[in-house]
Symmetry: C2
Subunit: 333 residues, 2 copies
């Protein structure tokens, strides 16, 4: 199941309901596209386990094991995994909607944000409803899997809110450490990718070790992903990246790049870093080799991700996850 | 289990977590008190059924039935009902928090609202977290009850958001009918009371007829409750009511009182009603007997509530629900 299929499933969700003021912004938000990374990871998390079962079957070439494998597959209803994948995408878009209000962001995926196109109250309320819709999607899965799926989802949702709070707190603090920044992006970005993989794997019957390995792969992938995002905001190509370059610098956002530069800067460079001027800040980054340091960090996290991935039985799905991590190193948008 | 016990249970929830910016506003909101009406109704909904079982036991005076009754009780874990009751109260306070942002309300229960005491972003994010916390509380109940409880809760949560959207829509429309207003307050106020009762009853093993009767009792109670609120905003005593009188009039809020008055007013009175001046609007209400018409409507809904209540076996808990509806007619705050 690829991105096209996920978009098709998302398209099946019906938002042509009353009151329009509540549901139209939800349809607008979900139709904007995006990478559909979270639902893809949930599905791959499940497929890691399921194709596994298929592989075992092929090796054994024995009728009894054949029957067992079918059973193992039957226990994991693929339509339930799809429901959960959609819930994760709806939840992710809820966080974007509310984050955009809090950050006063005007553009998302090349279009006006909801609070700009409608108004702030609409963005708050439709966002609330999206969070409820995510729980609605979750609640429909087979009852025996529901308690664990909810527990994992709730933990993740809480961590995302905590991450957003730290993000806002750090805007007002001048003494944020690189360690704190890393913790924040772990909460704000990584745990959702990790939980998507874990829930998918859990639903397909993965044992705790395999769930854990995929979770940790997701954490490392998310860290690399966010650091690459920070990097592209400095060094990306505007047309390819899809949004204006240098936004973080102009806002004085305490990214890995800025925090690392501040650690290494002399008094004069420190003053330049505080200018929030794109050219002047980048000049200091170049002097200090921040570019290379960020790339190195991204590469470290990518290696970590691949290492965790090596701990689960390899199949087609793990190969896709491997490719995903490797592509990340080269991505430009 | 009374209001004091509910406050004790709410007090046990631990919000002394990091980041403080996320959790302190939640502690602040939940410690402000209030009627604790929703958790009370959830507990009474369950007790309607459970004391029922006790009564049967006493009548039969037979060992076997005794044993059955104990079993019936055991199936409904009272601690789970308490969890759900707390979830409903946390959810209710989440809606108040976000509604206050949307309505730009500065005072709630005699204290500064969260977006005034902190800021708007805090109110949005801590509100989001409260909604997640409500789901966390729900998710911990016994697994066999979880799917139905979630389904009922999700339906109610959606209706509340729809009600809030209609409320905001109606602010911008001049042609709101009394029927539309009634539908809006049903969604915004009644369904939460009704669902609290239904979930409580369901958890205690009530059949669908009894669940339905208690649900409809809750709907009618909620309607009477909201109309009384509208009434007290016009005719209440500021000190007793706990908030400033005439707020609805000054904001031109399309309440039952105003919509009814507009229907009956002549051209001159219509102009007065549009003045948004407390004395002038009340003068027209007095001329048209709006006071009495509101009281009559409240009394009608109260009768409806009592009628539905008559459809379930009577016991101590139903007696408390009866008293609650009767007191409502006389409440001044």
């Amino acid at each position: 199941m690829g991105k096209m299929d996920i978009n098709r499933e998302i398209g099946k969700l019906d938002w042509s309901k009353e009151p329009k003021g509540l549901y139209e912004p939800i349809a607008y938000t979900l139709s904007a596209g995006g990478k559909r990374l979270r639902p893809t990871l949930a599905l791959l998390g499940a497929e890691c386990e399921m194709r596994n079962a298929e592989c075992k079957m092929q090796n054994a070439e024995c009728r009894m094991q054949n029957a067992e494998c079918k059973m193992q597959n039957a226990e994991c209803k693929m339509e339930d995994v799809v429901q959960v994948a959609l819930a994760l995408e709806v939840f992710h878009n809820f966080t974007l909607l509310h984050d955009d209000v809090m950050d006063k962001a005007e553009v998302r995926r090349g279009r006006a944000t909801v609070h700009v196109r409608w108004n702030e109250n609409t963005a708050i309320l439709s966002g609330d409803q999206m969070l409820i819709e995510a729980y609605k999607l979750l609640s429909g899965i087979q009852a025996d899997k529901l308690p664990t799926v909810l527990r994992l989802f709730n933990k993740m949702a809480t961590e995302i809110c905590e991450g957003q709070q730290y993000d806002m707190d750090y805007e007002l603090r001048e003494d944020v450490s690189i360690e704190e920044y890393m913790k924040m992006i772990r909460l704000k970005t990584s745990v959702l990718l990790a939980t998507a993989l874990q829930i998918g794997a859990y639903m397909a019957g993965a044992n705790e070790d395999r769930q854990h390995a995929l979770y940790e792969y997701g954490i490392a992938l998310g860290m690399a992903f966010q650091l690459q995002d920070d990097y592209l905001d400095c060094y990306g190509d505007e047309a390819t990246f899809g949004k204006a370059i240098g936004g973080d610098i102009r806002e004085g956002k305490k990214t890995f790049m800025l925090l690392m530069a501040k650690q290494l800067a002399n008094a004069e460079q420190l003053k330049e870093l505080e200018s929030r001027n794109y050219e002047r800040v980048i000049a200091v980054y170049d002097q200090l080799g921040i570019d290379g340091k960020a790339q190195q960090k991204i590469s470290e996290y990518t290696s970590q991700a691949l290492e965790w991935l090596g701990k689960v039985p390899q199949n087609e799905a793990t190969q896709q996850l491997r490719t995903m991590a490797e592509k990340l190193l080269k991505r430009e948008r």
